[in-house]
Symmetry: D2
Subunit: 435 residues, 4 copies
């Protein structure tokens, strides 16, 4: 987790304090069920909760023990024994470290997913608001960076809204993939722990039961989770790149919010750079890079090896924290994006109506011309306008090969932008009512 790209809420999920607290809860809930099953004394379970429930686990002390025993869970259990006293021998009965570690990771990833879902919702809310605000704000649609046909700025945002609505559904599914509990012993056979313990802990922690584990929760689940984050990061990037393009000097249809006191450049005082969205572009790469190692983690040897662990110590906090930060940064940008409708109109008018060429083409074919022939006649006049030789509409009106099929007034009507945008309401209904 790069601190400057991490919000405190997410950092807290990955702190050692949180981790040890979750470990404790897993052990203590398990003890409850074991006591109920008669495996350990009921008194032991009570003492564990009593002493451990209010304890502040000493991270430095646990680290010191780990340096000796070279095993993190044993270090924690040793420290817990220092707190709980003799009853501590009933903790972790028949369990294996992974029962604790993997279930804890599930809890952390599920909580991280909840934060991310909130981040997505903030982005969606901002997009929805701005989309409706600019539903009728005309601008040019560009394919290949080249002016194509008119659209509205609200429609652009609606497209991103729909994408983040998909992101939400994907993340919900990904959360369900990893929100599982496994307490099944050394090779997943429940040889030394009753399946009822697993069921109890799962219920208490809001997790599902892993149907079959092999000491570890299978890593295909985590791979799916990180893949979902990678796709969402790519959706963040798409919107970031759109804004970067719109802020280019020659385009300047929108600008990132720029606060008082902020400096764009140490050298060039006039500059207002889209550094936030450029930053999001980089953060997308950082999140996406976690996908492949998560997939490489799947093929553990036999019932498990521990190669996944160091990977997850990295990508677990990193991918969730950086995506979380990116979502909130993006939401802030969208909420406060400075939009220049006049400039949008100016750019739209820039090609003098060339953006309506397809409608002319269609009208010519409907007036009886073969498509190829219609294409040639339109392109001829379009290219002339493109080269600065006359306005497109004027050129068309002066071209007998065109006007013998389409009278001037019919041509003019084809240049009405309202015609182009008559289905915007339909699309908005599909996006915002259907989502």
């Amino acid at each position: 987790m790069i601190p400057r790209y991490t919000r405190p809420e997410m950092a807290a999920i990955w702190s050692p304090e949180t981790k040890f607290r979750i470990w404790f809860e897993i052990e203590a809930h398990a003890a409850d069920k074991m006591a109920e099953l008669g495996v350990i004394p009921a008194e032991a379970a009570r003492v564990i909760w009593e002493k451990g429930g209010e304890a502040v686990f000493d991270v430095a002390r646990i680290d010191a023990i780990e340096r000796e025993v070279k095993h993190d869970v044993i270090a924690f259990l040793t420290h817990l024994a220092e707190i709980v006293g003799p009853e501590a021998r009933f903790v972790h009965q028949g369990m294996t470290s992974s029962d604790v570690l993997d279930t804890c990771l599930s809890v952390q990833l599920a909580r991280a997913a909840d934060l991310l879902l909130a981040g997505i919702d903030r982005v969606r809310a901002a997009l929805r608001k701005r989309a409706f605000e600019h539903k009728a704000t005309l601008c040019v649609g560009r394919s290949h960076g080249i002016h194509a046909e008119p659209t509205t700025f609200g429609l652009k945002l609606a497209s991103h809204y729909a994408e983040f609505s998909r992101a939400r559904r994907r993340l919900e599914a990904a959360r369900a993939e990893i929100a599982v509990c496994a307490i099944s012993g050394a090779v997943g056979t429940f040889a030394t722990v009753d399946p009822a313990v697993e069921a109890h802990v799962a219920e208490k922690l809001g997790l599902a039961v892993e149907p079959v584990s092999t000491q570890v929760i299978p890593r295909d689940r985590h791979a799916v989770f990180f893949a979902a984050l990678g796709v969402i990061a790519s959706s963040v990037e798409r919107l970031a790149v759109e804004i970067r393009h719109l802020q280019r000097t020659e385009v300047l249809e929108a600008e990132e919010p720029f606060t008082e006191g902020q400096k764009g450049s140490s050298a060039m005082p006039h500059k207002r750079n889209p550094v936030l969205t450029e930053n999001l572009t980089g953060l997308a790469r950082l999140v996406r890079m976690c996908v492949i190692p998560a997939m490489e983690n799947v093929a553990l040897w036999h019932e498990r090896d521990i190669s996944h662990s160091s990977v997850e110590r990295g990508i677990g906090p990193d991918a969730t924290a950086h995506l979380d930060f990116a979502l909130h940064r993006l939401a802030g940008i969208v909420e406060n994006l400075v939009v220049y409708p006049e400039r949008m109109q100016e750019n739209l008018d820039r090609l003098g109506g060339l953006v309506h060429s397809q409608k002319v083409l269609l009208a010519l074919t409907q007036a009886g011309l073969a498509r190829e022939e219609a294409y040639r006649r339109v392109q001829r006049n379009a290219m002339a306008a493109w080269r600065g030789e006359g306005e497109f509409l004027a050129n068309l009106k002066a071209d007998k090969d065109v006007t013998d099929r389409l009278p001037p007034e019919r041509l003019a009507a084809l240049f009405d932008v309202g015609v182009s945008l008559r289905h915007v309401d339909t699309i908005f209904a599909r996006v915002f009512d259907g989502a």
Copy 2:
């Protein structure tokens, strides 16, 4: 698509013939609806189906046209006009190339997903059959490659079955992501085509309607699809690696089927190498490598750029074909895997009962010892056995610090493998009845 790793069924989906046939169907279905809307003559739609419906599109001819016009859809439409005649001018009315290309890709990916689902089901069926066959076949469970505790070979397979059942659900979801149709014109505004056309084509092709497109179907959908393939490939790899390990000379608990006439090595005639599962390991890398470019494709510029296209020409066929091949290769291996239960038992017995050490540890703590102390007493005897100094059980029986807590007969009972595996039925029920 590497031919040797491609099944003909999948190759057919990606052939130019199939592609042009789908293009035609999109255009012809669209024409039907346009005729119904009165945009083109009903007769035109009829002729398009009549002439094009039975036509064999000349791939070489289309390629030749494309070399001139440098545009694949225009090349196809030009060829179609050669077949359909003058009515061809009513084809593609108000549509843009991407309407055809993207919807076609959706159809191809959906068909590919159907083949992959069948492949997964074949793997699942094989795993289920062999899992029940070996439900009680004892073998050692290994963590870190080191003997841990007893399990059964059926339980190993059940774990993979559960993973492929998850794979199935993920692929179904991924299929739904990409099974969408967009016919929305140059920048997705329906400026020149009625939304009803899109709805009609979608229905005819078994697709959902893309709520908002921007000339193209947004690429987050495809990213999710390829990510799902990457995870499934990783699951293939996990099972492949398991089999490779089991076939190692020193382990030899199972072997890939080896056909008559097959040669293991040009140099060493005694060798039977797990080359099929090694191959699957490599194929997993080939599929997985398609994930990141699919994510890089998401952030297209404005309403679209075409950078995704060359990527998809590669990863579309490659990832689906190689995963499809891998699934069937894997299924064949599982169906015919040669299993050596005697060798499994032999390996299980190898450590002279050390695999039961955890049960001894537990019994000692339940007999009143602190966990740390119990651990030391067990490890002491285990390490001696490990070094070849006596059998583990004998050592324990000879250790007064152990026997003053656990009498010899109690110790012996702890070495009963039946105890370790009493929950196998439970797990099988969770996996096979719950899936």
Copy 3:
């Protein structure tokens, strides 16, 4: 290899015919040395060359044999025996399949590298020519997409030239990494083949000897090779993205060559899209995706497993072919790039001199102002100009806080673009004379 992105020269390197020809040469050269060492009869070596040297190997026949024996080298040797006759039993004496396969791959990769080097040189030649042509063509330099300070178009190209010169050196180094020969037998010990055979074959094929092999040539060599291709592809992408930006409607400082007959859009006849450079952007992703699997191939098990093989059947041809195609496409674009110097000047003038703000800032600090204070005074006037309130120079001249430090004529001199570009010759000398 996607055919449309593969040049025939590169396809030929990866054809089965070429592969079998190289296999033959390895075997025949090896036989020569073995004959010299007295391991096989001199007559055998002679016959092998005589019969095999002019043979056309029957790919279909070899494939048919392979389907039976499931081993490609044995299939080839069997076919070779059909051609050579009884002396064939002296072929491949004491060698292992990998001796042939890996050495052949080295030859193919080295030949591919030679083609790629030629492609890089074509790009470099084009960049050099156009860089000198536009050495003094003024244009605006942009950071963050925002106008920064003046530069020249030639300088832009010089930067790319320098990058491709680095690419060349990297590829030469990468070529040396994989241009190695290994003929060392089953586990690399030369148990059954003399090291002199390896040395002889290496010399004949223009390869270095692998100092220590383990049946296979170690795959870190190949990983480095593919990583080099990935970086070069990224350099292709950088130039492609530059051109895409320059061709944007609002910028339009340069355009990809557009041939007669080419169609930009099936729908919008006026469009001239940068589809070639967008294509290069996609091809870069396709090449880059080969890097990680090549690295995953390194950690083979023990003396070797064959998981790398399927990967290399994909990435070997794909990465080299697509990069080769990309380099030539890029070279063609640069050679024929349409440049619009007037438009460059127009864009440069767009901000009315804001691009000179840093020189004003500097002059103010040198005139005694603290940097912070100077910054504020410049930014104030720059921001007004940016908002359309007056021209920047006029604003400065009207600002007493500025003019009390810098008299108007001094201010005007700071707006001379020649000052900004006085070191262009120096940079050109560093790039083109030093490379």
Copy 4:
């Protein structure tokens, strides 16, 4: 940087204190040259060194300023001005932030490379020592995990030594790629700073001059650097996987060092798990994942965008720190690896001489049999031995089809392992004298 996988020496390179110290040195060296050129007063340069040279930069203060101005270099310069006083206005004259940031990153990466080179050398020294120690320690070579032919443990290590020698050369080359200085102003034109300043700073910092920069040092250099780290990490993984395999219960030819007090498992006290090498396997994934984002960073927009920055804040420290840690962990493992030569011999003998089959095959062909026929006769006897039907040599001696070509004493001689290993000295000379 995950703290548990980061050595303090590497952490220090990436600390804010180190960064600000390097920034200062860049500014102060630049001031020296500017003073010499008469651009700023000589006194200013002197005061900058005097006040700043001994200052401890207040990281918290700089962070506080940055939160306001949202620009890290401006924040540092503001803080520096607080320390240096009025002369601070002569700092950073005509420079741009990237001049400082990029040159600093070069220094940090070069220092990191030096640490990594030392780590590689420690690995190499350990490998060399253990390789000579076990030069004649017989063990079986395995291809596909299956016993192949005899080798020696020293030879295995020699192969890894050669690979790390290649790693060293690659890292030296990669270091040279990034050890460059750029001080060229806002768009790399030296509009406001003399090239002599750059040359001076470069010399003082031990860097080369970047021939042409565009505000930033081109990112293909960094991509190459991170790619080199990715390959080295993969080489670490190869050796780690070898050791993991050797430590498997059934193989047990070597073990990672296991310290007193260390615990293998919280549940199974007898276990000694190869957790260090499994950890290295995971760390390899963590390093490797930095390669693709570094390549994605290359294609910055025009003269630069800042998307690379967040990526580098992650991968710069992470990849270098984790690889550095991995190299030292690996070196420690190799230095103290517990090797079991008796077990190696035992495993070698396991197949009763099948590992010599290829020599029998060769002898038969040299005795006049066609290869195919010889293959059949050897395989027949090998397969019987494999199935437990007799010893391989005995089977051969009893097979008239064999003995009519090779008399029993000739057969026995073929089973001499010394023959197989007669070239070990040659290979050692190639590896250790040639490196």
